[in-house]
């Protein structure tokens, strides 16, 4: 006899519940996304205490401003990522002692030894993204990571890497285009739901 499996509420439903002051929905949303958001904050800040503070602030902001979320501007997870990334980068800039993201990136485990296609089969989004990133040449991957995880602008990246600004821009654009193509194997809904 088949077990009836209740469909879990999607992120949009949960955000609407949170906007209606539903704490259960809020907890489900937290349980679902806090590992990803915390890992992102930890990657940016390099400090567990700071990352937990930012996670706490972010979810308080979610509780207070869920009603302002506009689904036309992107998926709920994208909104959560934007909130925590902004806060983490603000904190990173304010504490003046910037973590060298290049070192963090170089210490990061690479693509799990999986090809992008295998990662898709395994259903592991992170593995897919890591595999796609690992496919990029270092001169394209490094400036992308400096921008996204280090909060550096193109001018700062060019200065840090000692490369012409035009070269950095071209490599970042090419890198992101290739990343998009590399991730095309994963259904968009799975990546951004």
């Amino acid at each position: 006899m088949a077990i009836p499996v209740p469909q879990p509420p999607d992120d949009l439903t949960l955000l609407r519940a949170v906007a209606g002051r539903d704490k259960v929905g809020f907890q489900i949303l937290y349980e679902r996304h806090s590992p990803l958001l915390f890992a992102l904050a930890l990657k940016i800040l390099g400090d567990r205490t700071d990352a937990e503070d930012v996670l706490q602030e972010t979810f308080l902001q979610v509780w207070k401003t869920a009603a302002k979320y506009d689904e036309r501007r992107g998926k709920p997870l994208g909104w959560l990522i934007m909130l925590i990334r902004s806060r983490a980068i603000d904190r990173l800039r304010s504490r003046q002692t910037r973590v060298r993201i290049t070192e963090v990136a170089s210490n990061e485990p690479r693509a799990d030894g999986l090809l992008p296609g295998q990662a898709v089969m395994a259903g592991e989004i992170g593995a897919v993204v890591r595999a796609a990133l690992a496919e990029l040449p270092a001169e394209q991957r490094t400036p992308l990571e400096l921008a996204y995880f280090g909060g550096l602008t193109q001018t700062q990246i060019a200065k840090q890497l000692g490369q012409p600004l035009g070269t950095v821009k071209t490599r970042m654009r090419t890198g992101l285009l290739r990343l998009r193509d590399g991730l095309a194997a994963m259904p968009r809904e799975e990546l951004t739901s």
Binding site: Q56, M121, T192
Partner: protein, 385 residues
């Protein structure tokens, strides 16, 4: 800024790398063309946000969620009202002064005082009791509030438990599905491994067969080369044999022609209408051994001449022998012929015209190697009736 410029800067914008004038122009363009830009912006932002999945997942400490919930509860909870204590200050009484000033009245006073004190204490006790009752009531209210809060939390816990149960069921189902999927993939992998083994075996067999075929092909090539040499030799032999056969055919044809001539001659010789003339050199002084014979069929107007011991007159020598039929001394041209190296010859004969009579035949030597002459010019070497 054109929309093309917007598209070029879009990847840089979504990872937060744009700065300076480019960032300002970009944001102004988006603000002015929101409808046109919004979808592309969202799509590229979604691509950039995939980078957020790159770090390995990390569980935050459980205390973080409790802190979040505590802050939420604190903000939502009504401000507690400060408790008012209504216990009045106790009135102090100096018993020593009363005893020294009013000794006679001491006992009574003491009694009165004690009574008063007792009354006061009774009142105080009553007031304390009342205050205690009020405090109890307040605490009961607080307990009731706490019980309500506890009930609310119990409901929340029940809801959370239900949610957790649902999640557990879903996880169980997903786990089951995952296990089934894993088994399926394992089976497929095993099947692929078996297929690979089979293919490798088949491939090895094919390689072996290919080697054998190559050896067989080389052997056939060698045999073919040998046969080609043999065929060439046979073709050469066949050519030679064909030439021999051709020559044989020519010889046969020549022999058949000669047989035909001989047959004709034999038939002529056996014909009763045949006339035979003996020929010899007309000049006895020369004592020439040359002789000849003409076999002439009077009906068919044809015949044969046979000569021997003549001075050889070979074909191609610029000279020829010509037969003449004589009628009353008038010659009629006949056949031109030649001898072999021994002075022998045999030729069929015909006459160019039809003489009125046929008295004798003569043979002259003529200075020509072609058509017969109309009249004799050379010496007569044979003559006979």
């Amino acid at each position: 800024m054109t929309h093309e410029n917007f598209r070029e800067l879009l990847p840089l914008y979504v990872v937060g790398a744009l700065d300076g004038d480019e960032l300002r122009m970009f944001e102004r363009h988006v603000a002015e063309h929101r409808a046109q830009c919004e979808a592309e912006l969202a799509e590229w932002q979604a691509v950039a946000d995939q980078l957020a999945h790159a770090p390995r997942l990390v569980e935050p400490g459980r205390a973080v969620f409790h802190r979040v919930m505590a802050e939420i509860e604190e903000e939502e909870a009504p401000r507690p009202k400060p408790m008012v204590t209504t216990t009045p200050p106790r009135e102090r009484v100096s018993l020593t002064a009363v005893l020294f000033r009013w000794v006679p009245w001491a006992a009574a006073a003491v009694l009165v005082a004690m009574t008063a004190v007792m009354i006061k204490q009774t009142n105080t006790m009553r007031e304390r009791f009342t205050a205690g009752q009020q405090a109890t009531t307040t605490q009961q209210t607080q307990i009731a509030d706490l019980e309500m809060l506890s009930a609310t939390q119990a409901v929340a816990i029940v809801q959370q438990e239900a949610t957790i149960t649902n999640l557990a069921i879903r996880l169980t189902a997903q786990g089951k599905e995952f296990l089934e999927q894993s088994e399926l993939w394992k089976a497929r992998a095993e099947k692929q491994r078996q297929d690979t083994d089979s293919l490798q075996t088949a491939n090895a067999q094919l390689v072996k067969e290919r080697e054998q075929l190559l050896q067989a092909a080389n052997e056939l090539r060698r045999q073919l080369e040998t046969q080609r040499v043999q065929v060439a030799a046979l073709e050469k032999q066949a050519g030679e044999q064909t030439d021999a056969v051709t020559r044989g055919h020519a010889q046969i044809a020549a022999l058949e022609a000669r047989i035909s001539e001989k047959t004709d001659a034999l038939n002529l010789l056996m014909d009763p209408d045949l006339r035979v003339s003996q020929l010899a050199n007309p000049d006895p002084k020369k004592q020439s051994p040359a002789v000849g014979r003409v076999y002439w069929h009077t009906g068919k107007k044809e015949g044969w001449i046979v000569v021997s011991n003549l001075e050889p007159v070979r074909k191609g020598s610029g000279k020829s022998l010509e037969l003449w039929a004589l009628c009353k001394g008038k010659p009629t041209a006949g056949t031109v012929f030649w001898t072999d190296d021994t002075g022998r010859g045999i030729f069929p004969i015909k006459l160019a015209g039809e003489p009125a009579c046929l008295e004798a035949f003569a043979v002259t030597v003529e200075p020509t190697d072609a058509e017969p002459l109309p009249a004799p010019t050379g010496p007569i070497v044979l003559l006979g009736k």
